[in-house]
Symmetry: C2
Subunit: 571 residues, 2 copies
């Protein structure tokens, strides 16, 4: 079993479905030509298949562990990380001024998918650093940028995100960590943070923690929170490492999956930190990092879906057993149920890939264009972000679960590796804002434009249906109908109170994503051959019909959810 | 965190939804009075909550292990098993002639659910023995019955089922194990069997393996297979243990979950066995055992769903965080998304419980009545069995997965226990015939009556809708419509070729189950109070609408699943 980078489908999706070639027509991303894109994807595919994939199982079997106050990572991880860093992959979309490649998020997304497929637990490390780079690029002082960005971009130092505290998970505003001014422009950071991915490790020489904490005059809630950069070793001005800071990992979590990624409880005991962004403006800066990371986490789901699909397909082709009515190969792939599962996996994987790539493309175009055009692209990207995160990660779980089922009894045995995918990907639906939070964001903040971004996307869906009317009238009609149903649900959302919206947010997001999937896959079918048509046909006629049912659920309002009190729920 | 046996809902479902009181009106189950039922359920609930639940985590953390050729089970398992055996729970539905309680499957099912909720890995042990008891009761010689049944029923010896071989999983007919006559009426059994649940252990003094093997003159395929009873220690005529047989566990699987249950690879090296049932008639005897076990496995799913729901509800009530638009308790249960998840869990759990209990009730009535009436009940039970197995276990996975999500980050941390439920229950969708096999059984063998059993059930659905028309017209209409949609899909199945049926079998089973769930929950609402109505309303208006989408998928035929060849699937 190996991992084969899905270069063909990625390239096809970029070119024919998303129209990503428009990036190279902008000044900002003029270097992202077809040639460069192909070269980058090919090279990243090699890294993923040849360097990262071989250490994936080792990470699961030999979890990172805390020994004498320092974290020892899984065998092979340090070398594999070095290959990522030395290949320049950490800084793929970072500012060239500090050593980055300056490539668009679109390309970063495609590269990230392959790294996630190959070894999710290790690929999480550069994803965290990339988020930190983006936050520093936007919010840090010139001095901090000059000192830190070259190191982070080169992968010599890595970044973490420290938001969560035991009493403050999704409700970040409840945090208690404190920042006291030291009088020299630095701050003493004190507090405990939990769920810190790659909070400590031995694969790079320094670790830079971005920590949310409250200044002495910070008001309660999110408006009193500031952001601080708190390095493990305090760097000298020349970038060499100085003294150890007053911080340490005090334990690692024993997790369902992602064993290769050390998830630390971090203790900051008057650690020296530098403020990033304005006083009490930490949440805005953190959101820069998190928005980026949300798309990145969606892509984690896509990556695992692709890897799980490849593994299941290989097994289905190889496993000789049973007679089926077709009986062509003597393998279980002859069975209709297995075929259904494979089509299900493939169509969800390709649909979620297209959503993530189009989200990234929108964000890129938002940066590369100006004025009203930029605003439209940005709104499009912002609307697609929670969908990319939630649908991408849901797809990761759903597809890897089907992968276990295709393996039959072998799927429940750990040595097969099918179960690892399901375990590893499970957290992606939780971290960077649970998928419930994503759904609330979608029907709350992302509809504050009066539904303009949503309607624009549904307009694109309708255009696709119209374009397909002659060639594939059944698919066109189904997409048109489903788009209208989602449009009706959208109208309901726009005129409903906030908790009614929230009550329907999860099925609404799901319905929207299924319809977008139909739209992208039908575009692919229009541009491509019979294979694309088969996938589009399966998705539109066999999976997308659920969108109507989800819209029904989405528009029931909050009241039915609150009928039962705690006692009635328990009995 | 504790486990609270859902006695109230079980009793209500039995009395008001299933009408299980009719059992006590039969001669066979005259003893299954309301009083006995209540006493048995209460006692079983105590066993589950006080003896089994406390060892559940230990089983996960300290997996059974193979040491010097024998299996050592998890700490506390031997004592907990002893309590099951000494309480008479292994023989709850076994023949009183050999020491069983002779109670109906309906009660066994309710008791089994609680044991499964409390500790699935240990509860699997008596489930296997119960299947063996039933197979021996039906197919074994008088001598074997007299020697083995009292020991098995008392739980002094346990039973296993040995079907699977490395090259023969769902395709049992491909097995290679051999049985050579020894000339003294016994046989020498040789072969390797895999996935043998509780294949070896130290919680009881003897282990009786029912092994499928082929006689020298057995034809290839399933028609040449015979069934043999092969004990670990060969018993003397007085039931005392004699010499060790030539069989041993050669390894244990490292599994995703169910760590407390040793899953062995068993080697039989000319082991002495006794034939059960006729020569070459092993499959029929094995099916007796498996049919019983299929319902039992469905109930495993229900048990885990209930346990996962209870844990998630407790967490949602306890976890203080975030402001919600309702903000009543300050706990996350105020949030609409959390409420939706809890309602989702509760309605699926109750729906699958009703399906399993009604399936058991039908099987009981098939035994307790005669002639045409018995035939109808048997057909009803046979039709419900694959639905109970597949929908019960799917519910176990779905609900435990939602349970993880409600726990947020804590859900991914193993010490919480939420993840264990999802890991443990995962295999129930695979063993005793994968859920894909169940779906094929439903649209294949179970429609060989021309759809009579299916139509009779859909007639019951329609009757429920009619009965609810005045009180709850919206729910009645929705159930009526969904029932008709499933009826149309059934008609399509009946006139379609077998592989077209198979191609739609999974979504068809799902649609049928969702509609049955609506039927049972609406019956509960008609008989009960507002709480039941709230659950019925949620299921019917928010989950059951998916039935139509599944019917659309179910009736697309096989062709769309076979469009892509191996190369196209891989690219």
């Amino acid at each position: 079993m190996t991992y084969a980078p899905p270069l063909r489908d990625m390239q096809f999706t970029l070119d024919q479905v998303i129209g990503a070639k428009r990036l190279a027509e902008t000044e900002l991303y003029a270097e992202a030509t077809a040639e460069t894109t192909e070269a980058i994807l090919t090279e990243a595919g090699k890294l993923a298949a040849e360097i990262l994939y071989p250490v994936n199982r080792s990470g699961d079997l030999n979890p990172a562990r805390l020994e004498n106050g320092v974290v020892r990572t899984s065998p092979g991880f340090a070398e594999a990380y070095k290959a990522i860093a030395e290949g320049g992959w950490v800084g793929i979309n970072a500012d060239p001024e500090f050593g980055g490649m300056g490539l668009p998020m679109t390309l970063t997304t495609a590269v990230g998918e392959m790294m996630n497929s190959a070894c999710l637990s290790l690929a999480l490390n550069p994803l965290m650093t990339q988020g930190q780079i983006e936050a520093l690029e936007h919010h840090a002082s010139a001095a901090i940028k000059e000192l830190y960005l070259p190191k982070l971009i080169a992968g010599e130092w890595t970044g973490t995100m420290n938001l969560t505290e035991p009493q403050a998970g999704s409700d970040v505003g409840a945090l208690r960590s404190k920042a006291e001014p030291n009088g020299d422009g630095t701050y003493a950071i004190t507090g405990q943070k939990i769920y810190i991915s790659w909070g400590d490790h031995d694969v790079a020489e320094n670790i830079c923690h971005l920590v949310l904490a409250r200044l002495p005059d910070g008001v309660p809630g999110t408006k009193g929170i500031s952001l601080f950069l708190v390095p493990k070793f305090i760097p000298n001005e020349d970038g060499s490492l100085g003294v150890a800071n007053s911080l340490k990992p005090i334990s690692l979590e024993h997790k369902l999956g992602l064993h290769g990624s050390p998830t630390a409880v971090m203790e900051f005991d008057g650690a020296t930190g530098w403020m990033v962004g304005p006083e009490h403006g930490g949440m805005a800066a953190m959101f820069t990092m998190m928005n980026n990371a949300r798309l990145g986490v969606g892509v984690q789901g896509v990556g695992i879906a692709e890897a799980a699909y490849q593994k299941a397909l290989a097994y289905a082709l190889d496993r000789k057993q049973g007679k089926s009515p077709t009986g062509d190969t003597g393998s279980i792939i002859d069975h209709a149920n297995v075929r259904r599962k494979l089509m299900h996996m493939k169509s969800l994987t390709q649909a979620s890939r297209a959503i993530c790539l189009d989200c990234a493309f929108s964000l890129d175009m938002g940066r590369a264009t100006e004025g009203e055009e930029a605003a439209k692209w940005k709104a499009r990207g912002a609307f697609l972000t929670p969908i990319a995160k939630a649908f991408g990660t849901d797809t990761g779980s759903e597809v890897s679960d089907i992968g276990i089922q295709i393996h039959g009894g072998m799927g429940f045995v750990e040595e097969t590796g099918a179960a690892q995918y399901a375990r590893d990907v499970r957290v992606t639906r939780i971290y960077e804002g649970t998928n419930g939070i994503q759904a609330m964001d979608l029907v709350g903040r992302k509809l504050m434009d009066g539904g303009a971004a949503a309607e624009a996307l549904l307009g694109e869906v309708e255009a696709t249906a119209k374009a397909a009317q002659t060639a594939h009238p059944d698919l066109a009609d189904a997409l048109q109908d489903a788009g209208e149903t989602v449009c009706d649900a959208l109208d309901w959302m726009l005129k409903s109170g906030m908790n009614d919206r929230f009550a329907g947010s999860l099925p609404f997001l799901r319905a929207f994503a299924l319809v977008l999937g139909g739209h992208y896959l039908l575009r692919a079918a229009l541009a491509g051959g019979d294979s694309h048509l088969a996938v589009a046909r399966f998705h539109i006629l066999q999976l997308m019909p659920q969108a109507a049912a989800f819209c029904t659920a989405a528009t029931q309002g909050a009241a039915p959810l609150y009928t039962l009190d705690a006692e009635a729920l328990a009995s």
